[in-house]
Amino acid sequence: MDYFIIDYNVEGQNTLALEDSIMQKGRPITAGSKMLDNFIAPINATVVDKLSNEYKIAGKTVMDEFGIPSFFSGESDEISGAIKAVVDNAVSFSLCNDVFGKYRKQAADNKLCYIHPTYGTVSRYGLVPVASSMDQIGIVCKDMREGFKLLSLIAGNDEKDGAMFSEKSYSYDNNEQDLTLAIPDSVIRMADKNVQDAIGDFAKNFKTTSLDLEHFNVYKQVMYILSCAEISNNISRYDGVNFGYRTSNYTNIDELYTNSRTEGFGYHAKLTAIMGTMVLTENNYKTYYDKAMKLRRLIKDGVSFEGYDIIVLPCDIGKDPYDNLSLYSLANLAGLPSVSFSYKGQGIQLIANVRKESSLLTAWEVCMK
């Protein structure tokens, strides 16, 4: 498959691919949607500005429409452009926004690393939003250390993003001692035997404690409800009025809205918009959205990081990608940093407390020696 939607034909060291949701001023940006077919980015994303001195942008990678995974409607996923570009050595890194775990899983599947930073540490100025409370630009890389070097360049407060920590910069050092790993046994037992063995082997390098992820059985539902709500709201700006795709077939404002959206949105975007709209209607708000928000709070409070530094999870617990969504929801729902990578041929995900990326790097290095 072609991983680039735009190829700038740049080669050499320190090359970078951007998921086509990250803006470069004056260049087209589609976020995978016909809705933005004719749209030219009006600004540079902050991450683009921050990297421009040391990295060359080689291209924009193809993506799911507005980041909505096809497994939302029961279809299987193809390999993402951002992953394939690194696998094929077209670039050293890809930057992307992984809300549903697709990139985290595929990175581990393809023996790459994925760094998902703490929510609010990397600016989202210039990132086409998916689900605002869960959006976070992450890094696909081959070597975790190189990935963290890149992360240290893009992380830090940006006054153009109103939901960030105040720290101006972060350094990610391997300086954490005596890390304790929390093992959610009941979750790990859902994975294949090989994965369980790999995790067991990995954990031997650390002190361990067992952890009960109390609401794990509803993670994916909470994630689904909240993300559909936020996506339906975020894509409501694509109405054909003042930018983006507009139908040529209209005689009044209602037709302009309806036909632009009918023609401009793909199947998954429409489905997600409908689901999100449904959970936010007055009649359903308490049953779905409000309840999911309360659960989100419980899920967040359920991981205290008292007595442990890192939670270890598999990257795959079943054939259905929707089941796997549960594995990736914790980091996004609670705004936690995570890394995923391949260990002894099996995908492993590590999650740390907010702004504790350094312990993730340390743990990875301990085992990769």
Partner: protein, 476 residues
Amino acid sequence: MKYEVVMGLEVHVELSTNSKLFCACSSKFGAEPNENVCPACLGMPGMPAVTNKRAIELGIAAGLVTNSEITKTISFDKKNYFYPDLPTGYQVTQLFAPICKNGWVEIETEKGKKKITLSQIHIEADAGKLVHDNRTDTSLIDYNRASVPLIEIVSNPDFRSAEEVVAYLEKLRQLLSFANVSDCKMQEGSMRCDVNISVMEKGATEYGVRTEIKNMNSLKAIAAAINYEAQRQIDALETASEELVQETRRWDDSKGQTFSMRQKEDATDYRYFPNTELMPISIEDKWIEEVRANLPEAAHDRFLRLTEKLGLSEYDSNIITGSKNLSDIFDKTMEYFSKPKEVANWIIVELLSIAKGDNKGEDDVKIDCKKFAKLMELVDSKVINRNVGKDLLSLVLTEDIDPEKYVEENKLGMISDTDMIDKVVQEVLVEFSKSVEEYKEGNQKVFGFLVGQTMRKLGGKANPQLINSLLKKHLS
């Protein structure tokens, strides 16, 4: 009267911030269409919202002057609906944790004083403006107003007459404009009001069917709309000519009637939910006290200062402190020329009459206070006479002249040379001997005519007191 009118008000006031609620665009009124826009307020993706702190401060100030409780932790929510003037497809507002609650405002009508209670004040972003071009039958959108910060002040159904509503709006305008929260100009849309109105039989405990009236852009229109709508509802109850339904009605000023816009049954489901792009903001007591300490002097305090300390009449003080703009002009001019009665007089008599001639209200007059003070000083120190002073005032307003220089260059200095004036007085008495006779026969009015003629011959620049006394001397 058998019926009682019950009303509650939703008043929208644009906050006088320099920039918009979530981006750095100017929020000033009167720019060219779509001059004050950026990707963020045009609703383009990838523009995270950053809250304008000044808007929160003005929200706190609004709470303080309306005796409201200030919420400790505020948050913003999204209200979803589609309209072409709303570029994001949702409006940012406050549903769950509005900035102020449980305030009150005291109003005064002929019937006496009354407390109007407020259920809440919340901050929200304004939408753009649709303009229909009839020549081409197209709708044009001006996004200058999109994302300009507003507060909505929601009252309880405490109003029982149009007079109370008007008194409340005037009071709000005074409170908020003196606190620099907003300039509150209805004609520019920086203050807008929706009226929820129902009628019930006197003494009834249950309210009648309520309608909401929109689209009034002056106090006069609001009073007229209320009176029309109340009568329509009473007629409907009395004659059963139509069934009252809960609905939104639009006031048509030219027809003097309200018209049904939409019924609440098929009202939009706004799908409110928390705005996760913005962190909740905590408002510490320290912040509230800072805002309180920086509140400008309130209208009532200014009134007391004018009457008690500066010795102005209540009448004059009322006019000056009735408008933030006039009151500021007064204070500023006093810094350069500190005779309060003179300054008040020049503002009320001269400045306002010129403004009126130009069709400007008290809030719209603009003048260079230093020059204004200078010309008063020139009159006061008898360098020029008062009439020349009035002419200069017009010129300061229209051509921004420097009064002192202008007097010098155009030789407008007052003529106080007694011999010279006496000579002219004698000429006038000869020339208008008929009038002199009339005067001597007892027609006092002729005196003014003779003063005028003398002044005219002296190019309008003579000392009027000298003319008076010389004329009197010759005529007696």
